[in-house]
């Protein structure tokens, strides 16, 4: 059995798979992130033990919000769960659950790996991914061979799109994230994104999203741009207008661009954690350019 842990900015989803296919999912459980690292760790261990019932854990794949250090084991700069920073969650889970292997990566990169392994990017050589929900992530992946990739994590949420704009949680002004993340939407309009119905607001927000996504394209020129995360895939106005707005903003001379919505939405990082296990199991590599 393979276990995946998807810790986003707000909640954690634990899933179990029989093999390296996404159709082999046998359980999924979730809880709101606990502020203290030790409590979060204990909750993870308890839920995994409850769901695996003593079965052999062949691998654990973790998709975690924030930066991951070079060893791939320590969480850094997780803005929404600061108490998790500098903890070696890989080591702690290894000691508690004795899996055969355990790997961790950033949740945006995991969402990207899901797309190249199981999703709409699996037939492309170069892929850009925009992940937008509570926070914003971006990645550029280049396929080296069938299952090995070089990857470049682009912090697209903190590109400045509005001069002298709103203060972002990172301290900069005018970041994309300060306008279009689910957290920013809630802070600005005092409602969850699912309850925000004003199309004029969504039109403005979609303009910002398109601008941010087109900047990712103009810097990396991927063959395909995959749009994922609940703010993109679960808001009807965004689904109806974002792709055409992105294409209208990209500099396409001498280049081709396909833009697609992900089929995975919030499951993207979970499937990406499974892809991470699959990639390593085949002796393949993920080479970080950054």
């Amino acid at each position: 059995m393979y276990i995946t842990i998807n810790t986003g900015n707000a909640k954690t989803i634990i899933s179990g798979f029989e093999d390296f296919t996404i159709t082999s999912e046998i359980f999924s459980d979730q809880f709101t992130n606990l502020p203290a690292y030790e409590n979060q760790l204990q909750q993870l261990i308890t839920l995994i033990k409850d769901n695996t019932l003593g079965k052999n854990i062949e691998g654990i794949g973790i998709a975690h919000t924030g930066d991951i250090d070079k060893t791939g084991e320590i969480i850094e700069d997780a803005a929404h769960t600061p108490d998790y920073n500098d903890h070696n969650i890989v080591q702690d889970l290894r000691e508690a659950l004795s899996p055969q292997v355990i790997y961790m990566t950033n949740d945006s990169l995991a969402a990207s790996l899901a797309e190249v392994s199981f999703g709409k990017a699996k037939d492309y050589q170069t892929v850009g991914v925009v992940y937008l929900y509570w926070g914003i992530g971006g990645a550029y992946l280049k396929r080296i061979n069938q299952n090995s990739y070089s990857v470049f994590l682009a912090d697209i949420g903190h590109q400045i799109i509005e001069p002298n704009g709103k203060i972002c949680s990172c301290g900069q002004r005018g970041c994309l994230e300060a306008y279009v993340s689910a957290e920013a939407i809630k802070k600005r309009f005092l409602v969850e994104q699912s309850q925000l119905e004003d199309v004029h607001i969504w039109d403005e927000l979609t303009d910002y999203m398109a601008l941010g996504a087109s900047n990712l394209f103009n810097l990396f020129f991927p063959e395909v741009l995959i749009l994922t995360g609940e703010t993109i895939t679960e808001v009807p106005y965004v689904k109806d207008h974002l792709i055409s707005k992105i294409i209208s903003q990209c500099e396409l001379t001498g280049k081709n661009l396909h833009v697609e919505f992900s089929d995975f939405s919030e499951k993207g990082p979970t499937y990406g954690a499974l892809a991470l296990l699959k990639i390593h199991d085949g002796g393949n590599t993920i080479t970080h350019i950054e």
Binding site: I156, I160, Q172, L211, L219, C250, E251, I289, E290
Partner: protein, 284 residues
Amino acid sequence: MYIAIDIGGTHTRVITFTDLSLESEVSRVKFPTEDKFDKQYEKLVKAITSSTQDKKILGISISQTGLISEDKSLLLDSDFCKDFVNKPMKDMLAKEFDTKVLLENDAVCAGLAELVFGKHTDPSRLAYITVSTGVNGMFIKKLQNNTYQLFSPEFGHIKIKGDGRICQCGKKDCIQSYISGDSLKQYYFQNAESIEDLRIWEKTVEFLAIAAVNFTVMFSPTELVFGGGMIENNQYMREKLQYEITSQLRKKYMPIISISEFSDKVGAYGALALLKLDPTSLVF
């Protein structure tokens, strides 16, 4: 002899070297870049012939403004040298002078000049931004085994919410439409060097800083080098740029910021760097 050519939107420079070092420079020719390809080619041949005086040419390398084909054989698109697009200049020069000819984008060449000949503290992740007639940028990451990963993005077409200015590419709010010499001329009806109103420069440097911040959060360079006449020849820009970037960018990403020492020779020096580097060491 080695010939390094820099074809910019305004001027073309042909520099001759006896070996692959900057110190071996023996001659320099500069002329206005022609609108028509045939005339430009004629001038190039004349400049090379007069510089080499029948000595054996071991290689020619061209730094060209615009989009270069993946196989590095053709100019595919250019805002400033439109008549040069799809013209077989590389093959023509190779045949004319019976030597190898390399062709690369000018921003890539400028980055290579800084990488190979620049004096930088930590060039392991080097970014180069140039602002002159146009705007461009590139990023080089040192990999293992003396290989380099290069990204040559459309830096001039990074977008921010501005006042909706239309760029030469036809889209609106590209950074190039706010800060390039060409766009300043279009918008304020005077050449950049004639603009004395500091409010214009204040806005220009602010937009450049934001574009540099966006480039930095995407690529995380250790060193960020600025070049191009709009920066090198403008004391206000040079002095204000670092302050603007520092005030806009969070500390986590702060690179070492410097101004190129190569001035308007950076493209040609980059062309020489291209001849010096093993082409297989560059991964695009």
